[in-house]
Amino acid sequence: MNFDFSDDQKLLKEQVRKFLADKCPMTVTRRVLEKEEPYAAEVWKGLVEMGLTGTAIPEEFGGLGLGALELCVIAEELGRAAAPVPFSSSIYLAAEAIKLFGTKKQKETWLPKLASGEIIGTLAVSEGTHAAHPRNIAVKLAGGKLNGVKQPVADGGAASVAIVAVNTGGPNKSKEGEQAVSLAIVDLKAAGVSAEPVRTLDPSRQHVTLSFKDAPAEILGDKAGEGWSQLSRVLDGAAVLFAFEQVGGTEAALEMARGYALERYAFGRQIGSYQAIKHKLADIYVKKELAKSNAYFGAMMLNDEGAELTEAAAASRIAGTDAYVFAAQENVQTHGGIGYTWESDCQFHYRRAKLLALAVGAAIQWKEKLVSRLEAKNAA
């Protein structure tokens, strides 16, 4: 039984943790949020200089050629710091999608630049306030021209390239009522693309509305119509990585709540000596450990491209979302009135927890994906 990260991976985690503790305290997250900066440029630069953006990109495309496990330990630390950087958009989503499904030429064009941090990438799926599905994707790619609107798109203002879920026209031959969906690769600096910031619940991570008017675009890879299953695979991987961010965030929120429970006195004693508070924090701990254990299995399946990746990813996402949202909410609650003020740092986990809970699909969507798989297995 070797269900743990290696010593090298733990060392990498420690390095990232130290860097972020030093360069990305909550004052940085606060600054980005208050000034509405697209991201913390100096933190991003530091992460790039440490080579982290190239971690899981193959050496032939300018990366370090390490695996998913290394990305997982980085993700946990980014989550702990609630870091205001476009790492998830550029690496878990854009680079992974290109790595998985791009043509050799697309990989050669984009991966070295994403690895070196020269450019930022992102993934654009959502088209407003409803879940995307092959029945409703309206952004259309025809004759190499892209038209329509994606909203919200994380880091879409800073990004130079986006992987966009598009309708490539015509019905899906294998599924009645659904349209053929593809993933397209779009140069966001080209003519016909405009990005307008959109207000969100967590301004420490900029989101935009991306509008395409006859913007030049091409299919990711060489097969049109495979986009929905490709997207599903990209999101499975990202769900695992986001789950590690959620575990890191949960730990940080728990640590904040614990610290306050020890220093705050009410009715002549530390509030952490009341069972109402102790049991609340114990419940956060329980959820955190369930999330961590599920995320570990997700990491293993992702690294091995295992047969249970989808179930493991869904379980990681469901447990991670449950843990971080609960921890962030109960952290505010433990702090009482001060936790609700602008000056308190509680707000950053509160916002980030919900942002991550929605980022690659809400828990209820993942529960449906999970149970569909379990049903199929159970019937077999």
Partner: protein, 409 residues
């Protein structure tokens, strides 16, 4: 990252399997084995199996060989447990004795007690029980009232214990008593070993709400024990008891009942909500997902602990979440399984109910499981205090002499 055995672990597993194949029947082939016809036969079968294990070095695997153990590692013990669980072998009537009582005797007993008791217990010749809980002290064990008074070289014991598993068939027990009511409660306790067959010991079974009777009340009327039966110093009983209790949560395992999400998916296919299969209902699907994620979380938490053991490291505190999650899940899933049967869910008949009535049985059993070996609330206190380092609750009786502390009836 992988789930593979190391070379040594694989070799040990192979050796265990070969031995089990030779000496026991695999569960899937065990349908024809008749269950023991009564308690006496069950105990005889258990003793025979335990002796066999002891001869082969598979009883008390981590204990030194000179005490009758196997001289192995913790991971050896885990591997044996994993493999044995696939075979139809008699259940755990020795778990409390070997998991809690004998380790206490070994840590605190005089040499002659160790020489006399350890080996027969390992072989299953003698069975032990633990006499701590009382009507007035469950979660608060140190509030116990059973009195031991010095009389010459002897002690005379009067009082009552409760929730004593297996007292009706045990040979010996470890008994926590109050020897000084004039000092604060934790300071006036003393531990003894006692002979359960002494006529001054009376055992009465407690009928549980499940209908079974696994626990007992035990009454002591002028029970005389020698001072040489004392385990640890006079007044050191709490320190001694902590040795026992530290082992208890390891002994109360991670059972989750017989129905889990696989069974629930089957049931949801076979039952309806508003004329549609229940499995199509979002509320049903969401619950299946939540319980699956909990079960996976527990499984992989166990794997993290095993990994630490496999590397020879001390496991982290993560295993402390196990019973908190498992017991409540067992109860809720059982309850929901009955809901899916709608009006028919009230039936408690193995021949009629799905999964031979597993939903109802685990729902009833979980009510006890959420309390046994540390209630949900006590376990949360333990996580909060020992893992998160939060302060203890204010204890109003902590510094008062026991006989002046506030008490209920």
């Amino acid at each position: 990252m992988d789930f593979n055995d190391t070379t040594e672990e694989a070799a040990y597993r192979a050796q265990v399997r070969a031995w089990l194949d030779k000496n026991a029947t695999r569960k899937e082939n065990a349908r024809d084995i008749a269950p023991p016809k009564d308690l006496k036969e069950m105990i005889a079968q258990s003793k025979a199996w335990q002796a066999k294990k002891a001869d082969a070095g598979y009883a008390c695997i981590t204990w030194p060989k000179e005490w009758g153990g196997g001289g192995g590692t913790t991971i050896n013990n885990v591997i044996y447990g994993q493999e044995e669980s696939k075979y139809a072998v008699p259940g755990g009537i020795f778990a409390i004795g070997l998991g809690m009582c004998i380790p206490t005797v070994m840590s605190w007993g005089p040499d002659e007690a160790k020489q006399r008791f350890v080996k027969p217990a390992v072989r299953g010749d003698e069975i032990w029980c633990q006499l701590f809980s009382e009507p007035a002290g469950g979660s608060d064990v140190a509030g116990l009232r059973t009195k031991a008074e010095k009389d010459g070289d002897d002690w005379v014991i009067n009082g009552q214990k409760v929730w004593t598993s297996g007292a009706h068939f045990c040979d010996y027990g470890i008994l926590l008593t109050r020897t000084d009511p004039n000092v604060p409660k934790h300071k006036g306790l003393t531990m003894f070993w006692i002979d359960m067959k002494d006529p001054a010991v009376e055992v009465r079974p407690i009928k549980q709400m499940s209908g079974g009777a696994e626990f007992n009340e035990v009454f002591f009327t002028n029970l005389r024990v020698k001072d040489s039966q004392r385990l640890g110093g006079v007044g050191d009983g709490w320190k001694v008891a902590l040795t026992t209790l530290m082992n208890e949560r390891l002994a109360v395992g991670g059972s989750q009942g017989n129905a889990d999400t696989d069974e629930l998916i089957r049931l949801a296919r076979d039952t309806d909500i508003a004329g549609e299969p229940a499995i199509r209902h979002g509320g049903v699907r969401e619950r299946i997902a939540d319980w699956y994620v909990q079960a996976q979380g527990l499984k992989f938490t166990r794997f993290r602990t095993l990994t630490a053991l496999s590397k020879g490291e001390t496991p982290g505190p993560e295993s402390s979440i196990s019973k908190i999650v498992a017991a409540k899940k067992m109860q809720d899933l059982g309850s929901f399984g009955m809901d899916l049967q709608d009006m028919g869910g009230v039936i408690r008949d193995r021949k009629i109910s799905p999964e031979e009535g597993a939903y109802t049985e685990q729902w009833i059993g979980a009510a006890g499981y959420r309390i046994a070996g540390g209630t949900d609330e006590i376990l949360r206190n333990i996580v909060a205090e020992r893992v998160l380092g939060l302060p203890q609750d204010i204890r109003v009786d902590k510094d008062l002499p026991f006989n002046q502390a506030p008490k209920g009836k």
